[in-house]
């Protein structure tokens, strides 16, 4: 009996040992090359560095757990210097010279469109993470990992108005001020329509050119219009600049929403308390209930601090980037293939679990659901407040 017990224990030990060995086995063979560019230098570089960090973390994690198809993954990353023409040429190089197996998109709409052109030419799958104007992409093997739906100008703005409708202070008047940066401007125009349909009176619509630094006159006009709600179609630090200008004239708007802010600086800005913005991910439950997300948040926070990024939190940008890698991994793992057509066919038929939620690609131009939620600065931190199922524990949309 003792012998049998010994044998069983030994066999179990061997099996467990083998099993463990399989679990931690280093990937081997020719690396699978994933190619892409980011705007590591140039005007878009601040945000692109977040994507670089997220990608590096993902590849590191992937290779720790046996890579893709048992092969190590190598990320060939190039700097497109924020230029669409260079992006196009670099993607040509990735496909025709570096012979990458898979393509990951660059940062920003213009560069993504350049990359899509190359992917289409060589019939490659392109997974991208920051396409701001979905209607511009027509290629059937491109897949967006930033899930804002095909018509974000309608869906995102209505999500916001739904959130406002859940409070007791649904606005009667609205001021819309917007940068003429294409993807932002599109949303501002969408907000006009959405507000009109909900019976909100537009008391002001103002535009500025991207790169404007003087927000004083805009702040004064907003103050004069005295709206219940301001929709700020700002990108990056423009939102902070407008807040500063409003503070200088002692104006605190009742409610304000910023389309694509620089989240870290905005949360810390005076006058930003209870400001709203869109987000696909924030580093709190229920998002971090996903162990992968929790682990990613932990590592990203550390690395971002070490890298000296102005904000070390995981939010939309980092999450979109991480999701793009998840999409690639899911398709390759499920199909056990690197064939672009096979991967594309699978992606169109299946949903992919990502840290921002389930993504589907069966809508127009392969866009699925709009997963952009509403977040709000509360006590100096961003928390998702709408829809309720994605709200931080105990958080709800606060009005003045």
């Amino acid at each position: 009996m003792k012998l049998i017990k010994k044998l069983i224990l030994s066999a179990t030990g061997v099996l467990l040992g083998l099993g463990l060995q399989v679990a931690v086995a280093a990937p081997s063979g020719q690396p699978i090359k994933v190619g892409g560019t980011l705007a590591l230098t140039g005007p878009l570089s601040a945000t692109a560095l977040i994507h670089k960090l997220a990608g590096e973390i993902y590849v590191e994690q992937l290779n720790k757990k046996n890579g893709l198809l048992g092969r190590p993954v190598e990320w060939i990353l190039k700097d497109d210097q924020s230029k669409p023409d260079l992006a196009r040429t670099l993607y040509e190089q990735l496909v025709t010279v570096d012979k990458v197996d898979l393509l990951l998109g660059p940062y920003a709409t213009g560069n993504i469109l350049s990359a899509v052109g190359v992917a289409q030419k060589y019939q490659k799958v392109l997974v991208h993470h920051t396409m701001g104007i979905p209607s511009l992409v027509k290629y059937d093997m491109q897949f967006p990992a930033w899930s804002v739906g095909y018509d974000p100008a309608t869906t995102v703005t209505n999500t916001l108005l739904d959130a406002l409708a859940s409070t007791t202070k649904f606005p009667k008047t609205i001021a819309i001020v917007s940068s003429k940066f294409p993807s932002v401007y599109m949303m501002s125009v969408g907000m006009r329509e959405a507000a009109k349909k909900r019976g909100i009176k537009e008391v002001l619509f103002l535009e500025w050119e991207f790169g404007n630094k003087d927000f004083g006159p805009i702040a004064s006009r907003v103050k004069d219009a005295n709206p219940d709600f301001i929709f700020v179609g700002a990108i990056g630090l423009e939102g902070n600049q407008l807040l500063d200008a409003m503070k200088k004239i002692d104006y605190v708007p009742p409610m304000q929403y910023f389309m694509y802010p620089a989240p870290g600086p905005l949360a810390k800005a005076p006058g930003a308390e209870r400001a709203m913005a869109g987000s696909i991910f924030e580093q709190h439950p229920p998002f971090t209930n996903n162990p992968l997300a929790a682990e990613f948040v932990k590592i990203f926070n550390e690395r971002a601090t070490k890298a000296g990024l102005p904000d070390n939190a995981v939010e939309t940008q980092a999450a979109a980037s991480y999701s793009a890698w998840q999409v690639i991994e899911a398709a390759v793992t499920a199909t056990k293939s690197l064939d672009d057509k096979v991967l594309a066919a699978w992606l169109k038929k299946n949903k992919v679990d990502t840290i921002q939620g389930k993504l589907r690609f069966d809508g127009p131009s392969n866009f699925g659901d709009d997963l952009l939620r509403v977040k709000q600065v509360q006590n100096g931190h961003w928390v998702v407040v709408w829809p309720k199922e994605w709200a931080a524990p105990g958080a709800k949309l606060l009005t003045q």
């Binding site: 040509e92 350049s114 294409p182 535009e207 050119e209 991207f210």
Partner: protein, 577 residues
């Protein structure tokens, strides 16, 4: 067999045209396209800004005008892509010529003001495009526009078009460089006023150069719109475009037709060389450092540094061009016939009356001495005859034709040449080129070869033959004065205006100069001679005119005039005894 530059351009072009047939990865086409595009932009910018010195920071505007023309015509009007390219060039050219037609008339808008103004044009155009249906703020996508397949694939079309544009631009830049237009533009670069006085139609030349420069940038923009396939205002009208273009041209050398192309190739390749994702910022910093070092140690650019050395070596092995026996400026005998008649000429500067109803007559074949104390209006008179200043009232009739109000280059072409009291040679042109230019643009209107031969004759005449290849900066004052004289004579003038040509010279040099002027007079030239060196005036002049406070106070034979009490008073003051 030595190939000419156009033959080289054609040969290289033919070679590059075969690239799509080699089956190379398409990346190479794409990369070369980027270089071609940069070559077109830098070289086209250089046609105005490098050659004439009118630094434009508005090249992005003309490039952008081309991009939006093609984007609008293809996407909104469904005009086939290739048909939009001429339109892109024309729109950009019209924009440039429209701006130039206003700006080039204003002397104060030279230098940095011109640069700032062209930059402002970029912003104005961007604002218009952004706030009208041309863009409207959402950009113009071209992904649905069909690209025709000229060679093996549609993308080869962009490669071939880029190559063709680069070759065409280089050929145009080369042709202008060698043509009269190029010579005129280089003169404008060094001293626009002097160029005009030597017969260069500066306004027209600048407009032509600007128009061509903009047209080429516009066509390049049209092609580039399809290359990137999504046109937005922010990226199109960015300051980066003109900055890169200026940097490329300066690096390669703005005074050579090929310089900007070399700079464009080097910078595009360098920037591309640092696209690896590991150390992008360090890479960009390295590129910046390389450029700073090159520009610091080679301010004249790569070609500006090396080409003169090569040419110097070549010159040493080449026999000197034989000097033709050029004709005299205008071989006529002195007579009583009037060549120039000035009546009631007045000119005031900010209330100071420089000339006040002056009447002067110059007879054919004589030397007329123009004397008077400082500020009496002598140089103003010379400036007005040569067309440098517009008159307030009066008339200037030259050989029966009223030349008052004519632009200076027309006056020069009519046969009036002048020297400057303080020599104003074209600093970056050799001594030979300095003298060749008026022979091409002045009354002689010779072709380049004949003009050069003429120039060599006058350099020999003035004792500067040995200095033909030197730059004016290498000459002493005496030689620079004689360079002024040689330039004036090379245009074969009918009337020569010498403005204090003897000032600052040593007594021995003055004697040499007097002998030279006498020789010119013996050749039958008509000369107006402004001078303070009285013994030279007395020795050389057939008649003299004395000016004081802008009025003619005496006229006649030198000995007779200088004895008149009013003239003595002007020079020596009133006796108080």
């Amino acid at each position: 067999m030595k190939l000419s530059a156009p033959a080289w351009i054609a040969l290289v072009g033919l070679g590059l045209a075969t690239v799509p047939f080699f089956g190379l990865p398409a990346f190479y086409e794409s990369f070369l396209y980027l270089i071609f595009s940069a070559i077109v932009l830098a070289t086209s910018w250089n046609i105005l800004s490098g050659y004439s010195g009118y630094f434009s920071f508005g090249h992005g505007a003309f490039f952008g005008a081309g991009m939006y023309t093609t984007a609008t015509l293809t996407s909104k009007f469904e005009i086939p892509f290739l048909w939009t390219l001429p339109a892109a060039g024309i729109i950009a050219a019209l924009l440039g010529v429209g701006v130039g037609a206003v700006v080039f008339r204003l002397r104060r808008l030279r230098g940095e003001l011109f640069a700032l103004l062209t930059l402002a044009v970029t912003f104005v155009l961007a604002t218009i495009v952004l706030n009208t249906p041309i863009d409207g703020g959402q950009g113009v996508p071209l992904t649905a526009v069909t690209l025709p397949a000229i060679l093996s694939s549609p993308s080869s079309t962009l490669y071939v078009l880029g190559l063709a544009m680069a070759l065409l631009t280089l050929w145009i830049a080369y042709s202008i460089y060698l043509a009269k237009l190029g010579t005129g533009l280089f003169a404008i670069h060094d001293d626009e006023d002097v160029a005009e006085v030597m017969g260069v139609p500066t306004y027209r030349y600048k407009l032509i150069a600007f128009g061509l420069s903009c047209a080429l940038a516009g066509v390049a923009g049209g092609i580039h719109a399809m290359f990137i396939s999504y046109v937005t205002v922010g990226e199109t009208f960015s300051i980066i475009v003109p900055l890169n273009v200026v940097l490329m041209s300066v690096l390669g050398g703005t005074r050579h037709w090929l310089g900007p192309a070399v700079g464009a190739t080097v910078i595009t390749a360098l920037l591309y060389g640092f696209t690896a994702g590991d150390y992008p910022v360090a890479g960009r910093a390295a590129v910046g450092l390389i450029l700073i070092v090159v520009i610091l140690f080679m301010p004249e650019g790569l070609l500006g540094r090396f080409i003169p050395r090569l040419e110097g070596r070549r010159r040493k092995t080449t026999a000197a061009t034989p000097v033709a026996a050029a004709p005299a400026p205008d071989a006529v005998q002195a007579s009583s016939e009037t060549l120039l008649r000035i009546n009631g000429l007045s000119k005031a500067f900010s209330g100071v009356q420089a000339l006040d109803g002056a009447d002067v007559e110059v007879r054919r074949g004589e030397i007329l001495g123009l004397v008077g104390p400082n500020g009496s209006g002598k140089s103003t008179l010379i400036n007005m005859i040569s067309g440098h200043f517009r008159l307030d009232s009066g008339s200037i009739v030259f050989d029966g034709v009223d030349i008052a109000g004519l632009p200076a280059h027309r006056v020069a072409q009519a046969g009036i040449a002048r020297t400057y009291q303080i020599p104003r040679p074209f600093a970056h042109l050799s001594v030979l080129q300095n003298v060749t230019l008026p022979a091409m643009f002045g009354r002689a209107a010779l072709g380049r070869g004949a003009a050069e031969s003429e120039a060599r004759y006058w350099l020999e005449f003035t004792g500067l033959a040995e200095k033909a290849d030197a730059l004016p900066g290498e000459l002493n004052l005496h030689q620079r004065k004689f360079l002024e004289l040689a330039r004036a004579l090379a245009s074969r003038p009918r009337l020569l205006l010498l403005d204090e040509v003897l000032s600052g010279l040593t007594p021995a040099e003055i004697d040499h100069a007097i002998a030279t002027i006498r020789t010119i007079r013996d050749l039958g030239a008509t000369i107006v001679f402004v001078e303070h060196v009285m013994h030279a005036v007395m020795e050389l002049s057939d008649r003299i005119v004395v000016l004081n406070y802008g009025k003619v106070i005496a006229e006649g034979k030198p000995e007779e005039v200088m004895r008149r009490p009013e003239v003595v008073t002007v020079y020596l003051g009133k006796p108080h005894a």
